[in-house]
């Protein structure tokens, strides 16, 4: 039977995921800045206030630390809160609560108190929002034991990761690349929850493994299409979950292709790409025909001007050029 598909945006898919969660479980509620009357800074929660009312769709004051911590408290108190922090940049104002409380409570209390909290936030550059609104800090968060870090890059994941995150007994952070909100694709009519512990191999090839996540995944798709015209076939892996990493997924790929290129919008030093690279070196060194390479953002605060921002971010052209050099020398 042919699968029925619908056209929608990444934003619509997130909205559907939220609506489903609110319908399925009375303990679920959403709180954050402008999630209600405004409909969400990026219009992700549009319409939910009318449907679920102000007790469950709670507009908060500009108090990231208080409402994120209140999410922890509400989770401890038996609810299943979804905290929306407008962007990753503002999440730094809540970092104390995320790192010192959410991530530590279970272990520090000897297993007494788990924190079933979901925190969503927009991430990444590419919208000319300059130095304070373009961070990609998901790799940074992935450094912290005690939390899980997800980054949906597709409509399936935008729609389906939320419910799986809510079923998880521990804190889960979901990073939504802001440039993807208007992305239009198709989604199965019966799309539902998805696994949040596995990476996904989107495209198969024998020559090189392109390992990425988030908005860069789409740049890898474009690069793979161009490379295919040259006769270079690549695996494209979407990490999806940045903590815990599905190491097996890229080791399996590298065992086949013997070359790995990691594309990560974070800054290079101490990046998630560095972690992936280290794991390949540690566990698949003798499988490699070439050094592992990384394409990351330039280590500068993000400039506003379009040409400068483009120069700072990983781009399709550099992915293609690097892949060609790695394969052909």
């Amino acid at each position: 039977m042919e699968q029925q598909l619908r056209k929608m945006t990444y934003r619509d898919a997130l909205n559907e995921g939220l609506r489903e969660a609110l319908q399925k479980d009375e303990r679920v509620f959403l709180m954050g800045e402008d999630v209600g009357r405004y409909g969400g800074c990026f219009a992700v929660s549009k319409g939910l206030l009318d449907e679920f009312g102000p007790e469950r769709i709670r507009d908060t004051p500009l108090s990231e630390s208080a409402f994120t911590g209140a999410g922890i408290g509400a989770a401890l108190g038996g609810m299943r809160p979804i905290v929306e922090i407008m962007t990753v940049n503002f999440s730094l104002l809540a970092l104390d609560q995320i790192m010192n409380n959410a991530a530590t409570y279970l272990h520090m209390s000897g297993g007494l108190f788990n924190v079933p909290l979901v925190i969503r936030m927009a991430t990444g550059g590419g919208k000319q929002l300059a130095a304070q609104h373009s961070h990609s800090l998901e790799g940074w968060y992935a450094h912290i034991p005690g939390i899980k870090v997800l980054c949906p890059a597709t409509l399936e994941d935008a729609r389906g990761m939320l419910w799986s995150a809510l079923l998880d007994p521990d804190p889960v952070l979901i990073f939504e690349p802001a440039v993807l909100y208007p992305m239009e694709r198709t989604l199965a009519v019966d799309a539902g929850p998805v696994a949040i512990d596995k990476a996904k191999l989107h495209r198969e090839g024998k020559d090189l493994s392109l390992i990425s996540y988030g908005s860069c995944l789409h740049k890898c798709f474009d690069a793979a299409a161009i490379l295919a015209e040259d006769g270079i076939e690549v695996d494209v892996i979407d990490l999806r979950t940045l903590r815990p990493l599905d190491t097996e997924s890229f080791l399996t790929s590298v065992a086949k292709t013997h070359r790995a290129l990691i594309v990560d919008e974070g800054w290079r030093s101490g990046s998630l790409a560095a972690e992936v690279s280290a794991r390949i070196m540690e566990q698949a060194f003798y499988q490699l025909d070439a050094p592992v390479e990384r394409i990351c953002s330039a280590e500068v605060p993000m400039p506003y001007a379009k040409h400068m921002e483009e120069a700072a971010l990983p781009q399709v052209a550099s992915i293609v050029a690097t892949a060609r050099r790695m394969v052909h020398g």
Partner: protein
């Protein structure tokens, strides 16, 4: 809005209750005195923040809480844990770092947790507990549970942004939090007037339209009465209340504090107002306690503490194999 000023000392309620309050304060005092010894003997390590001098606050406030209420405390929380009903053995073993400690020895002195008694830490980040208390109260509000979340903190925490964010949120959303400020006049070594532009702490809560009261935190009867009124108000209104208890820490901030910031004369002055000493004297005046009763009380407490120490000594160390256990929940645990 109410602001009950510090009153002349409250009359003793009745013999039984007064003796109970004395006993609770003594349990904390003697437990901590023993802890200091054990620290010197290197049985307890890390930071150890003593509550000695401030016992009337935890004891008086505990009287106003039911077993179903929640408490969020600070790193100076041995007293809260004891009066909440936790066993001294579980607390002592925790401070020893042993597996029978309330947190398997993972938290130590600053992180005492207990699910049964709804004690949500033990937080070593000053002000870190405010938002959590607001969230616990939000959960009760959403689930229509008529419970109180008691959030204890020092006056130093009121300079943190989280105090202001949380006070605003609790008031804006009308959430049942009893904020208890344990004002011991020093944020570690920085005096109140050196850290706050406005030293009338209640006015800060009042600015968020939260009703307030201020009480002599060295008088356990007064604290119990003020806390009862405050918690009754929270229960009736489902909204927050701010109670300031003026108290004093007799001992150094932690075990590494030469106390350069305050005079011996000042400390001695406050020691004259020791909550245990003054209640004992009042009980004696009333003829409600005599030396032999007091001796018996001390003996019972000494026995309880000795047995807690014994429990901690006998307990095992957690297996190193369990190091990574509880970073995430075991499957099926919720």
């Amino acid at each position: 809005m109410t602001n009950t000023d510090i009153k002349a000392r409250q009359p003793l309620a009745n013999q039984e209750q007064s003796l109970h309050l004395l006993r609770q304060m003594l349990r904390i005092r003697r437990f901590e005195e023993k802890s200091t010894e054990l620290y010197s003997a290197m049985k307890i390590r890390g930071f150890l923040h003593l509550y000695i001098g401030e016992e009337a606050v935890a004891v008086g406030v505990a009287e106003a809480l039911s077993t179903d209420d929640a408490v969020v405390a600070t790193y100076r929380e041995h007293g809260h844990a004891i009066v909440r009903g936790m066993s001294m053995g579980a607390i002592m073993a925790e401070m020893y770092g042993k597996v029978d400690g309330c947190c398997r020895g993972r938290g130590g002195s600053m992180h005492l947790f207990d699910a049964e008694h709804r004690l949500y830490g033990g937080n070593a980040i000053v002000g870190g507990g405010f938002p959590i208390a607001v969230g616990l109260a939000l959960a009760d509000h959403l689930q229509k549970k008529a419970r109180v979340t008691c959030c204890c903190f020092g006056e130093g925490a009121m300079a943190e942004g989280e105090f202001h964010e949380s006070m605003n949120l609790a008031s804006l959303w009308q959430l049942p939090v009893l904020f208890v400020c344990e004002n011991n006049f020093y944020a570690m070594g920085t005096a109140l007037e050196l850290s706050e532009s406005v030293v009338d702490l209640s006015s800060k809560a009042a600015a968020y339209a939260v009703p307030t009261a201020t009480v002599d935190g060295m008088d356990v009867i007064a604290v119990a009465e003020a806390a009862k009124k405050a918690s009754d108000t929270v229960r009736e209104t489902g909204a927050p209340f701010f109670l300031e208890c003026r108290t004093y820490r007799f001992r150094p901030h932690s075990m590494f504090d030469p106390e350069l910031y305050r005079s011996k004369q000042e400390v001695d002055g406050w020691k004259q107002r020791c909550p245990i000493l003054s209640l004992t004297n009042r009980l004696k005046e009333k003829g409600w306690i005599d030396d032999s009763t007091l001796e018996k009380l001390e003996e019972d407490i000494a026995t309880e503490i000795a047995s807690a120490v014994d429990f901690a000594e006998q307990s095992e160390w957690e297996s190193v194999e369990d190091l990574t256990r509880f970073v995430y929940s075991d499957v099926g645990v919720n």
